[in-house]
């Protein structure tokens, strides 16, 4: 994976020093909170419900064991022993002191990590496919392109005070495992006439007005990738709405102008920028690629010994086909039954780091579904790995099932929340585990957000739940039919909302409708698409 050279290190160190100075000026009263807020946000420091919260970037979701250990150690030393993995391939600490923040950033910089641009109206952490570099179905490894974009977007002088936050995602497979088209810019690396290039989708997003990004360019040559991104951003920086925070995302600009007009403006800017030399030398991409070369895979057994039934279930559910047939990618579920989705203790982080070192060429990935991946596990080692995970309570065999739900922090941690999301997630996983329905339902993506901001991706859930405030009481809206994958779609609300108990019943009810109506191998989503909303409504509201 990528390693900093002296320049990258110097950038991050300079940022730590700069932030230390800013925090000092805030504590001395030279900066007001209004002035300090955007600065701390650009270093991932929020003021949340219980304390400051620090969001650490995990660029394109990749990290090594040393970095994972550092994250665990920070959880123990500066926080209360745990962290929360998010849908944006970040890690959030919930109990941070302003006085400690610069020291934490310094600790992070020692392992080539940072919290730069994990908040604020700037280009955020670049996300990617969690099986990148390992998946059997990818065209190329998308991470070198993501790293090129990471460097370009770090401390970008022109794009640090955009109308609103800006999220970029890069994938390189037909299968979309990263919700690519729900990003401000989604880039798919594609091949055309034997050439590799980038397909640009612009103007997707969730939040209060979810939109699927339209394609604006089907092929950008690789030696113009950064220039094209720069053109997309410049048009947005100049014309994105600044009069209303809720209309400031690029999706609104693209929607209001129309994809065609937006594209025309981008192409015009692009033609102009091509003369400005903004593209890094092509040799830079080649340099970055060398860091993502395959590890030394060895041939070995290709079949799993399935004699242990618990193990076999986990293999079927939690492993993914690898490009080398003696290996698989293994998913470590952070969704134990009744647990808090995405939370991991310092101790668990160190254990996962140890296992990565032992079994996965020292590599770890964070999934947007708030789980962890060991990308390169030898099939011969799988049972040993599983045994250790199982013993540590990290062996839940539930990837992509209803128990593998996404849940945002909700009202237990988030000051913007209307309702709690975590208790719902806990009760639903307990209920479906107890009834044994989870396995029967197969792939079913449940996504829960505690407010309209949609951090929990509820618009993209096969089943989505949105927390709302109904006269001071928590209330929940149910929606069906969303998908973040290559068959991307936005979920539709079923009807009136429910109480906490009511929405859990409602989830049970809609899964019953599915089981009664399913044909053949259909997933919940397929059945919904075939039969439509009516039968579900009928069962819910009678």
């Amino acid at each position: 994976m990528y390693q900093y050279d002296q320049y990258d290190q110097q950038m991050v160190d300079a940022r730590v020093a700069e932030f230390r100075d800013q925090a000092r000026r805030r504590l001395e009263g030279k900066l007001t909170e209004d002035q300090f807020k955007p600065l701390r946000l650009m270093n991932g420091l929020y003021l949340q419900l219980h304390a400051y919260m620090l969001r650490v970037a995990i660029p394109y979701g990749t990290l090594n064991s040393r970095q994972m250990i550092a994250l665990g150690d920070i959880a123990d030393k500066y926080d209360r022993g745990y962290g929360h993995f998010t849908t944006r391939q970040n890690l959030q600490y919930n109990w941070i002191k302003l006085e400690d923040a610069a020291d934490i950033l310094a600790d992070l910089s020692k392992v080539e990590m940072h919290a730069i641009q994990t908040s604020g109206n700037c280009i955020r952490n670049i996300s990617s496919d969690h099986f990148a570099g390992a998946a059997a179905d990818e065209l190329v490894d998308p991470r070198p392109y993501a790293e090129l974009l990471r460097q370009w977007s770090s401390f970008h002088p022109e794009f640090t005070y955009l109308p609103r936050k800006f999220k970029i995602c890069v994938i390189a497979a037909e299968k979309d495992r990263a919700a690519m088209r729900l990003h401000d810019i989604g880039i798919q690396i594609v091949e055309q006439d034997g050439e590799i290039g980038a397909r640009f989708f612009v103007g997707g997003g969730m939040g209060r007005t979810p939109m699927i990004a339209p394609m604006v360019r089907d092929f950008v040559p690789l030696d113009q990738l950064i220039t094209y991104a720069e053109a997309c951003l410049r048009v947005y920086n100049r014309y994105g709405r600044r009069d209303n925070k809720y209309k400031a995302r690029i999706k609104i600009l693209v929607h209001e102008l129309g994809a065609e007009e937006y594209t025309r403006q981008v192409e015009e800017e692009f033609a102009h920028l091509l003369d400005q030399g903004v593209e890094p030398p092509r040799a830079e991409l080649e340099r970055i690629k060398t860091y993502f070369a395959d590890p030394a895979f060895e041939d070995g057994p290709k079949n799993v010994d399935r004699s242990d039934p618990d193990f076999a279930v986990w293999v079927d559910r939690n492993t993914h086909r690898h490009k080398h047939d003696s290996y698989v990618s293994a998913v470590i579920s952070l969704k134990p039954v009744g647990g808090i989705p995405g939370d991991a203790t310092g101790e668990q982080m160190r254990l996962m780091a140890k296992l990565a070192k032992q079994y996965s060429f020292d590599e770890i990935r964070i999934m947007h579904t708030q789980n962890v991946v060991l990308p390169h596990v030898k099939i011969a080692d799988l049972h040993a790995l599983w045994s250790e995970l199982h013993a540590a309570g990290l062996g839940a065999p539930n990837m992509d099932t209803i128990e593998d739900m996404i849940a945002c922090p909700g009202l237990d941690y988030c000051s913007l929340a209307n309702a709690r999301s975590i208790p719902l997630a806990q009760r639903i996983s307990e209920r479906f585990d107890a009834s044994g329905k989870t396995a029967e339902l197969g792939e079913l993506k449940l996504k829960i957000s505690g407010c309209i901001n949609a951090c929990g991706h509820h618009h993209a859930g096969h089943i989505g739940i949105l927390g709302v405030d109904r006269k001071g009481v928590e209330n929940y809206q149910l929606s069906l039919g969303g998908s973040e994958a290559e068959d991307v779609s936005l979920a539709k609300i079923t009807g009136p909302g429910f109480t906490e108990d009511g929405v859990i019943e409602a989830v049970d009810t809609v899964t019953d409708v599915y089981l009664a109506q399913r044909e053949g191998e259909e997933r919940f989503l397929d059945t919904y698409r075939r039969i439509g909303m009516e039968p579900f409504k009928e069962a819910l509201y009678g």
Binding site: D5, Y7, D8, Q10, M11, A14, E18, D21, Q22, R25, K30, Q35, P38, L39, N121, Q151, W152, S154, F155, H156, P157, E158, F159, T160, Y161, L162, R234, N237, R238, R242, H272, Q276, G277, V278, E279, P280, P281, A283, E284, R287
Partner: protein, 151 residues
């Protein structure tokens, strides 16, 4: 003429990275420039289209870019667009210009700064020197990190 009292005076300029004489007269609006005034100083507001000025760059000695709020980043694009088009006169950031925006402004081509509230000299000096090297090509002519890596 309308609006001749627009703009900052030399006294308001706290930092300047040019040797030439400072223009000592008010600026006019972008609209006024387009309406054929002979003014050599113009003031750009966030909603203005800087590209409209491109035919007139030769006769401009001072362009002021107003930042009514530091959080409105349109002025950064304005600055780069003018420099990319070859503008060599003074480019002054005025308004809600704070310590922590100085280095990015400089990189986008601003070479003079007239903050509403005078800034701490020490803090500002540190801010201008924040980055030894930079990732992106901008109009400041600096060799970028990707270029340094492949020299």
């Amino acid at each position: 003429m309308a609006n001749t009292d627009l703009g900052t005076s030399p006294d308001d300029v706290q930092f300047r990275f040019r040797e030439d004489e400072m223009a000592d007269h008010g600026a006019v609006t972008v609209d006024a420039v387009l309406e054929q005034s002979n003014a050599s100083a113009v003031r750009i507001e966030p909603g203005d289209d800087a590209r409209l000025l491109l035919p007139f760059l030769d006769r401009l000695a001072l362009v002021e870019v107003n930042f009514p709020s530091f959080a409105d980043g349109r002025g950064y694009s304005v600055a780069r667009i003018l420099r990319e088009a070859g503008y060599e006169g003074e480019l002054r950031a005025v308004g809600d210009v704070l310590i922590d925006q100085l280095s990015h402004m400089r990189r986008c081509g601003f070479d003079s700064f007239a903050p509403d509230k005078r800034l701490d000299e020490e803090d500002a000096k540190r801010a201008f020197a924040t980055w030894d090297d930079v990732y992106q090509r901008s109009v400041d002519g600096r060799t970028t990190i990707p270029e340094l890596r492949h020299e």
